[in-house]
């Protein structure tokens, strides 16, 4: 291991999206040395793609809003499987985190009174999403990036972590390779924060980029940490469906927040036909009331059914398609152009509020959304499950290893509300950075075991081994097959036999992935990178499938054809996945600690 460059930091942050950047800024503010590593260039992480906004009970638009209502909404949206402490901290701290972004230069859209503007989103009782048109994620990441680069953080771009290293129970470092030259870098650290994002590349139709291969979840799992609730994968109801090459690209919920309506091919607003019981008292029963809600002209008006939670809207669209009422390319119609019947200058209004949607449809589908409806259908979007963390500190079950953002689990329970991710990133990014710095200060040096390093190196170089047989399509082919498999058998609607057969097939793909050959050399070689990422995708796919088998009910984002109802027996359990002594993945269920009375009251008062 003599030839490896070794870099030392007190705290090492893996991932430079909203969560990683916020963690790095905080750790640095605590006075420890910080390294920040990302697979892409700085500023390109997934966070940049977030559109609709960031949820925080600022109460700028509706003064009735409060952290308590935000908390209750988040818990209800998550079907009460959430880590309630996280849901509480999140609701309480999100407003400060938004204002802090403003102090660092973010320029949110404004209300008439000059405050930060907030918009409606599914499952939120009041207009709550601070936003900048439909490019809120760009505003967030650029603000954190431009502030972060002046905080003395060492940034290592295009550098992929392939293994975590341990000293006894605790983590002590990580091995990475640079994308440009394929050189190894050994990071020594007293504490590590994982902020690597999601797993969306496990599916064929997805709004996620190549980066979303479950790296953080896998790194944590392999080092002995627990994952929880992996069965809960969010399928966003509105992805593009046509043309084929753009299938899955997200259409922000902001379209519905601004008054967009869903229709089937018979021109029916089908969402009115199926309003779940626990949302009936808060949902409009006619289009006029819905419109008054959207335009905030009637404070008593209830929200239109298009703004029900994502899991529900996605299932309704799927039902319309399956029952033959879908749009020509197998989706539903999403119409924002209709608001011209209601307001003057509708065209300019749409372009102002939804500029990137306008641009995206115009450029990619040749559709003018100010004139015609869009065709939309469900797309894999977000994973609620992930690394199990302590609600207060964000530490995983492995000492010194922290997680924040999409790769961590707990806040969202069985279903995430739109806008609750961007706020999650900064609230828990900050807490993770703070506690990781504290851990680093309280715990001395750990030592790196050279054997672990050589094993990790050998594993990373495996796919380049010229002794391996070259097969057509290489790692890409295996990835396609996995994506097809997950989409078909562990997708939006699931069945026992199908999930079980998916688990068997994943086993076969794992075998192939372990011997796949990547042609070419170590220099910027995406074939090699894909072969390594694939190993992670297989681990998280297996976790999703194993968790999905044992939750024998339908709840939130997890829908079982063979168990179509919610079951009380599963109403207070999390699914836990960990590596067993024999190296196999174990899935068990654990009871969620009971809610303290004061939090229960907050929920009961708002039922």
């Amino acid at each position: 291991m003599a030839e490896i460059e070794t870099i030392e930091h007190d705290v090492l942050i893996i991932g430079a999206g909203g969560a990683g950047l916020r963690a790095a800024i905080e750790a640095s503010a605590q006075g420890v040395s910080v390294g920040l590593v990302c697979k892409s260039l700085l500023g390109k992480a997934h966070t940049v793609m977030a559109e609709g906004g960031m949820a925080a009970a600022l109460a700028n638009v509706d003064e009735r809003d409060s952290w308590k209502t935000h908390f209750a909404d988040t818990m209800r949206g998550g079907y009460y499987l959430n880590n309630w402490r996280m849901a509480q901290l999140h609701a309480q701290q999100a407003p400060d985190r938004v204002r802090e972004l403003e102090a660092w230069g973010a320029v949110f859209d404004r209300t008439a009174a000059g405050k930060i503007m907030q918009r409606n989103f599914g499952g939120h009782a009041h207009p709550r999403l601070a936003h900048v048109g439909d490019r809120t994620g760009l505003e967030m990441i650029r603000t954190l990036q431009d502030h972060g680069i002046h905080q003395g953080i060492d940034v290592h771009m295009e550098c992929t972590m392939s293994s975590l290293l341990k000293d006894g129970d605790r983590v002590c470092g990580a091995l990475a390779y640079t994308r440009e030259l394929g050189k190894f870098k050994l990071f020594k650290a007293k504490a590590i924060v994982l902020a690597t994002g999601g797993i969306g590349r496990a599916y064929k139709i997805t709004s996620n980029s190549w980066e979303y291969t479950g790296d953080g979840q896998t790194l944590a799992y392999r080092s002995g940490a627990d994952l929880i609730d992996m069965e809960f994968v969010q399928f966003h109801p509105t992805g593009m469906v046509w043309p084929p090459s753009v299938r899955g690209i997200l259409v922000t919920e902001g379209v519905r927040g601004e008054g967009g309506v869903l229709k089937n091919k018979n021109d029916e607003r089908f969402m009115f036909g199926d309003i779940p019981e626990n949302y009936q008292s808060s949902t409009a029963d006619n289009p006029e009331e819905g419109w008054r809600y959207v335009t905030k002209t009637d404070r008593q008006a209830r929200r239109p059914p298009e703004l029900l939670t994502r899991d529900h809207v996605a299932r309704c669209i799927l039902r319309e398609v399956r029952e033959g009422r879908g749009s020509p390319h197998g989706g539903a119609f999403l119409d924002i152009a209709w608001i011209k019947e209601k307001i003057p200058n509708a065209e300019a209004h749409i372009k102002k509020k939804l500029p990137s949607m306008y641009h995206q449809f115009k450029e990619l589908a040749g559709i003018d959304i100010t004139k015609e409806p869009m065709e939309v259908g469900p797309t894999t979007h977000y994973v609620m499950g992930g690394i199990r963390v302590d609600g207060e500190t964000q530490m995983s079950t492995v000492p010194g290893l922290y997680a924040a953002g999409e790769c961590a689990a707990g806040l969202h329970g069985a279903n995430r509300l739109g806008g609750n991710s961007l706020s999650d990133l900064v609230v828990f990014g900050k807490l993770a950075g703070e506690h990781a710095a504290k851990f680093a200060k309280e715990n001395g040096e750990a030592s790196i075991d050279p054997d672990q390093v050589s094993t990790a190196q050998a594993a990373a170089l495996g796919p380049l081994d010229s002794g391996r047989a070259q097969v057509d399509g290489g790692a890409y082919q295996i990835q396609y097959e996995l994506q097809e498999l997950m989409q078909d058998k562990v997708g939006i609607v699931r069945k026992e036999e199908e999930i079980l057969s998916a688990i068997d097939e994943i086993e076969v793909l794992k075998g192939r992935a372990q011997t796949v050959r990547a042609p070419g050399n170590r220099q910027y070689n995406p074939g090699w990178h894909t072969a390594l990422d694939l190993q992670n995708l297989l681990v998280v796919s297996e976790a999703v499938a194993r968790a999905a088998v044992i939750r024998k009910e339908s709840r939130g984002a997890h829908t079982r054809d063979d168990f179509p109802e919610k079951e009380d027996a599963f109403g207070n359990v999390n699914t836990v996945l960990r590596q067993g002594a024999d190296g196999q993945m174990e899935a068990i269920q654990e009871t969620i600690p009971e809610l303290p009375d004061e939090l229960q009251e907050i929920i009961d008062e708002r039922r």
């Binding site: 940049v48 980029s209 990619l364 290489g474 050399n521 220099q523």
Partner: protein, 252 residues
């Protein structure tokens, strides 16, 4: 569905050449789809950057038939597919491999621009009041996805290689976003004149033409900044005022 020929530049920092690939083009495909297809079918190690595939991250910049564009937002139906489509990396930056260019210069430039420095908050909760109409100008600049296509076409960088003396259009946009931010109190005018080399820009507007975010780089960012420099350094009355009143003067 026809087979189309793509000429893709392959090479590294030392040398390279165009290599021909054939792949099938289907409905609605963009250039990035073709590159991915080629990568999966016949060149697993073809290097390319991308993330969002929706024009939001600014990773996939390249020169397509000689035009600087985002590969993910360029539809193949815009081209005559009887002719080969050429794809090469941005040429104003050193090549790394295949379609990937070394854009690290841009990150170094940004590091040297003075960061945001807000005035005291207006409200007790640490927030400020700003009218929508006062932030709109800055919001235009903040749309920038850092694709660096404007840097790629600017002749000061591309042809005259003034990387050490000139920050390029992207960073005038960045400066403008800071300078025109209603809360900012920093003074960047001396840097604009000296280390940022704003004088090299002769307003050819090539940068504005390629910006995928349609930011009016020249008219809205560069020219107003040039005016601030002129006001400060070449207008005798304002120079005196500046000496008496202190460095920062927000013109609005």
């Amino acid at each position: 569905m026809a087979n189309t020929t793509f000429k893709v530049w392959r090479g590294d920092k030392d040398s390279g050449e165009f290599q021909e690939f054939q792949t099938e083009v289907s409905d609605g495909m963009v250039v990035l789809d073709a590159v991915h297809q080629i990568q999966a079918e016949s060149a697993n190690d073809l290097a390319v950057r991308w993330n969002c595939k929706a024009g939001k991250c600014g990773s996939c910049s390249a020169e397509i038939n000689g035009m600087p564009k985002l590969m993910c937002m360029t539809r193949l139906s815009d081209f005559d597919l009887e002719e080969p489509v050429t794809i090469e990396p941005m040429r104003a930056f050193p090549p790394v491999k295949d379609l990937v260019a070394d854009v690290s210069y841009n990150y170094r430039v940004k590091q040297n621009i003075k960061p945001f420095k807000p005035r005291q908050p207006d409200n007790e909760d640490g927030s400020w009041n700003m009218a929508q109409k006062d932030v709109e100008r800055v919001q235009e600049f903040r749309k920038c996805i850092e694709c660096f296509l404007c840097q790629d076409v600017c002749h000061v960088l591309r042809d005259h290689h003034k990387h050490d003396e000139f920050i390029g259009p992207r960073y005038f946009v960045y400066n403008a976003a800071l300078e025109m931010h209603p809360l900012d109190q920093e003074d960047r005018v001396p840097d604009l004149k000296k280390s940022n080399g704003i004088g090299y820009c002769n307003i050819t507007k090539c940068c504005t033409k390629v910006c995928p975010e349609n930011i009016t780089i020249t008219d809205n960012a560069i020219i107003p900044l040039k005016e601030r420099v002129v006001d400060r350094y070449y207008d005798p009355i304002k120079m005196v005022l500046h000496k008496i009143m202190g460095p920062k003067k927000k013109s609005d």
